[in-house]
């Protein structure tokens, strides 16, 4: 980089102003910096393009259904009556079930990797978690449909039989083996497995950055290992872990193909999480795509827009939490 120093000659000697340093950028560098800037700002462009195009394409659906698109529980392509009033809450239910189970397991695993596991086990486990994150979601779907679902049905039946005091566990239909196939609960549990590695690897990074000095201080005060973790590691990592959980929830909301393979698709709201019949917005889009006509295509675009807005809000909130926290600031540097 060419640096030209212009000493401030006009200024009298007794004045103690610092000289001004002017960096003259060569033409090649200017071009280079411009290219880098364009690359950096391209992510804005993609986000903007998604918003603009999805909005534009979803206009016909909003034109046909208006705001009832958010409340109507139907997907009727004969009368062009489309609404995600049933699917949107089901998406959130699946995401909630996934997070309820994923967050404790993921945080425990992250703590184990960063605080407990001895060297070789730690390296193996980090690889296992990375691999778990890299396994394609279609494989999770296949595994969930053919391995997990048959093995989980018995427990779901027992749960619905013995937990009638808890309204979501009740059934609206006669209990039978097929009454528990493709429920929100099973989809949520499989999505939970896909979310675990995301939360784990982010939390592990945060935990492992808890300052060594503070750890030793806790030990020096007579703390047990759990006491040290509770007093040092968890407070330090709280912000980063919350951010990681939010990112995981965002991922759970947008999960497509695994949910599509597992659930029995419905378009109306089903509050009985153990009972067959569920859907998520992403699965709705992928599942109805091939058969979609003009207005239905537009309705799918509109649901995609809703999903995008939902995940964008969750993820941006996560990014904010991470940036504000002590551990997040440390990881961002």
């Amino acid at each position: 980089m060419a640096i030209a120093v212009t000493s401030a000659a006009a200024v009298p000697d007794d004045d103690d102003t610092p000289r001004t340093i002017v960096t003259r950028v060569s033409r090649a560098d200017a071009l280079f910096r411009a290219i880098l800037r364009i690359g950096g700002l391209s992510s804005f462009a993609f986000t903007g393009l998604i918003l603009v195009f999805l909005m534009y394409r979803s206009l016909p659906a909003f034109g046909a259904d208006g705001l009832t698109f958010f409340t109507k529980q139907s997907w009727n392509f004969v009368n062009n009556e489309f609404g995600i009033g049933g699917v949107l809450p089901l998406t959130i239910i699946i995401g909630a079930i996934a997070s309820i189970f994923a967050i404790p397991v993921a945080i425990a695993t992250a703590l184990f990797i960063s605080e407990y596991a001895p060297g070789p086990i730690r390296r193996v486990l980090i690889a296992v978690i990375d691999l778990m994150a890299a396994i394609p979601s279609i494989v999770y779907g296949l595994w969930g449909r053919y391995w997990f679902m048959p093995r989980a049905i018995g427990t779901m039946g027992w749960l619905s039989h013995n937990s009638r005091w808890f309204p979501p566990f009740r059934l609206a239909i006669q209990p039978s083996a097929s009454a528990f196939v493709g429920s929100s609960a099973i989809a949520g549990l499989v999505v939970c497995l896909m979310v675990i590695p995301i939360i784990t690897s982010l939390s592990r990074e945060v935990f492992s950055q808890a300052p060594q000095g503070e750890r030793e201080a806790a030990y020096a005060l007579g703390s047990t290992r759990w006491g040290m973790i509770r007093a040092v590691v968890i407070p330090f990592g709280k912000g980063g872990v919350i951010g990681a959980c939010m990112l995981g929830i965002g991922r759970a909301l947008g999960e497509t193909i695994a949910v599509l393979l597992i659930v029995n698709s419905i378009y109306t709201f089903n509050p009985h999480v153990l009972q067959e019949g569920s859907e998520s917005i992403a699965a709705l889009i992928a599942g109805d795509w091939s058969s979609a006509s003009h207005i239905q295509l537009s309705a799918l675009m509109a649901s995609g827009l809703v999903l995008f807005a939902l995940t964008l809000v969750v993820n941006s909130f996560a990014a904010l939490v991470i940036n504000r926290s002590r551990s997040g600031a440390a990881t961002a540097e």
């Binding site: 703590l111 396994i135 759990w226």
Partner: protein, 418 residues
């Protein structure tokens, strides 16, 4: 173990226990047993029980597993297994592996708490219980991965055992075709071509964006990083929707492998940016300054110093993003179609990929042959992911500028020769 060994052990336990907890050795020496407040200096304990002078540099061993720890865990595990078996098979009307292991785990925790409560005091119990609970998280994750690999292998074995599965296409596959005819070659070719095109688009753009974050930064750095983080969890189906409405509806591109690769590029982009940024950020600033001091322009510094220094890490970043990209199904469903025949041209006509093949075969809810083919294809997919993953592990690992053992050997050989 040296003479200080037992003392160290006792330091740990004494500092960890309060008055109630007395182990046998301490009980034999009344003088040392009755102080129990955890903040009593542990060194005094050492001097009481043995006349060795105070040793200030005795290491405190935090991570130490004793025989009692192991036996308690094992006992609780076996006890819980037996109890759950009795409950499941004899007493309660329960069935299913999921419920079995759930009950086993609950019983295990209860039994462990009971067994630990009999031996240790509350602080130690909570410490050890957390250790056990937390480690089951790691075991659980490993079990899930192993089960997925194993189950796919068992179910896919009938299909992959036939050589034709790997070398032929599904052109001749009909509803009743046995497994010794037809394969997934066309889908593998499609997957790899789409992945290559997606990487061609996303890797240069991603590394450019990462360089923007590390080399230029400024006012826009924070918002760009935030939006990249938010894009990491962009639902893949939304990326597919964008490409469909932008490239196919607006620009008139045909539904093809190329369109799918654009969608996958968008999904890979944030991963490439984030992983490369981490690598570029740890390139030592002194290297950069040295290049500037020698009069290099900024782009020469980046091109000849920073990128080569970070090469191994960047490769890892790219390969991990590729492992993510190859498994994407939804965008391919939206922007591409499915085909049973070989189509090596990603720009025209529909191309099958391994994920869409699995999806199509499963959705058809066909006969066992198709399920076996789907599992075989998922094995092929995981094989690709594993290969990419291994490459990432072998190439990466070291920090930028740090040499691997092989590189050091090569350099020393060159030095010896010259």
């Amino acid at each position: 173990m040296t003479t200080t060994g037992p003392a160290t052990e006792r330091q740990r336990s004494d500092s960890a226990r309060s008055d109630g907890a007395v182990d046998e050795r301490a009980a034999a020496r009344p003088g040392s047993a009755d102080h129990g407040v955890s903040d009593v200096p542990v060194q005094s304990d050492v001097s009481v029980q043995s006349d060795v002078p105070l040793q200030s540099d005795v290491p405190l061993q935090i991570r130490r597993v004793t025989a009692e720890d192991v036996l308690t865990v094992a006992g609780a595990a076996v006890g819980a297994l037996c109890l759950t078996w009795v409950l499941f098979e004899r007493v309660l009307p329960l069935s299913g592996a999921f419920g079995f292991w759930l009950c086993w785990y609950l019983a295990f925790v209860v039994l462990y708490l009971a067994a630990a409560g009999l031996q240790w005091n509350r602080r130690v119990v909570s410490d050890k219980t957390v250790a056990v609970l937390v480690s089951t998280g790691g075991i659980f994750a490993s079990a899930v991965v192993a089960d997925q690999l194993g189950y796919s292998f068992v179910k896919g074995l009938p299909a992959i055992a036939h050589l034709n599965f790997w070398t032929t296409t599904a052109a001749a596959v009909a509803a009743l075709t046995p497994l010794n005819k037809g394969g997934v070659l066309h889908a593998t070719v499609g997957s790899l071509e789409i992945l290559a095109l997606a990487s061609l688009a996303s890797v240069p753009l991603g590394i450019t964006a990462a360089l923007f974050l590390t080399e230029i930064g400024g006012r826009m750095e924070r918002p760009v990083r935030m939006i990249v983080n938010a894009m990491t969890a962009l639902p893949s189906v939304v990326a597919g929707l964008l490409i469909y409405s932008l490239a196919i509806l607006a620009l008139g591109l045909p539904e093809s492998g190329f369109a799918a690769s654009l969608a996958i590029a968008i999904i890979m982009l944030p991963t490439v940016i984030r992983a490369s940024e981490v690598v570029l950020r740890v390139v030592p600033g002194t290297l950069r300054e040295a290049a500037f001091a020698l009069g290099a322009s900024q782009w020469r510094t980046v091109w000849q110093v920073i990128l080569p220094t970070a090469r191994s890490g960047l490769t890892t970043a790219v390969v991990l993003a590729m492992a993510l990209g190859i498994g994407e199904t939804a965008p391919v469903l939206l922007a591409d179609g499915f085909s049973n025949v070989m189509n090596a041209d990603p720009f025209h006509g529909w191309q099958a990929t391994l994920p869409t093949l699995i999806f199509t075969y499963v959705e058809a809810e066909g006969r066992a042959e198709f399920i076996a083919r789907a599992f075989g294809a998922s094995l092929a997919l995981m094989l690709v992911v594993l290969v990419l993953f291994t490459i990432a592990r072998v190439v990466g690992g070291g920090r930028p500028g740090e040499l691997s053992r092989r590189q050091i050997r090569k350099l020393s050989r060159e030095a010896a020769n010259s």
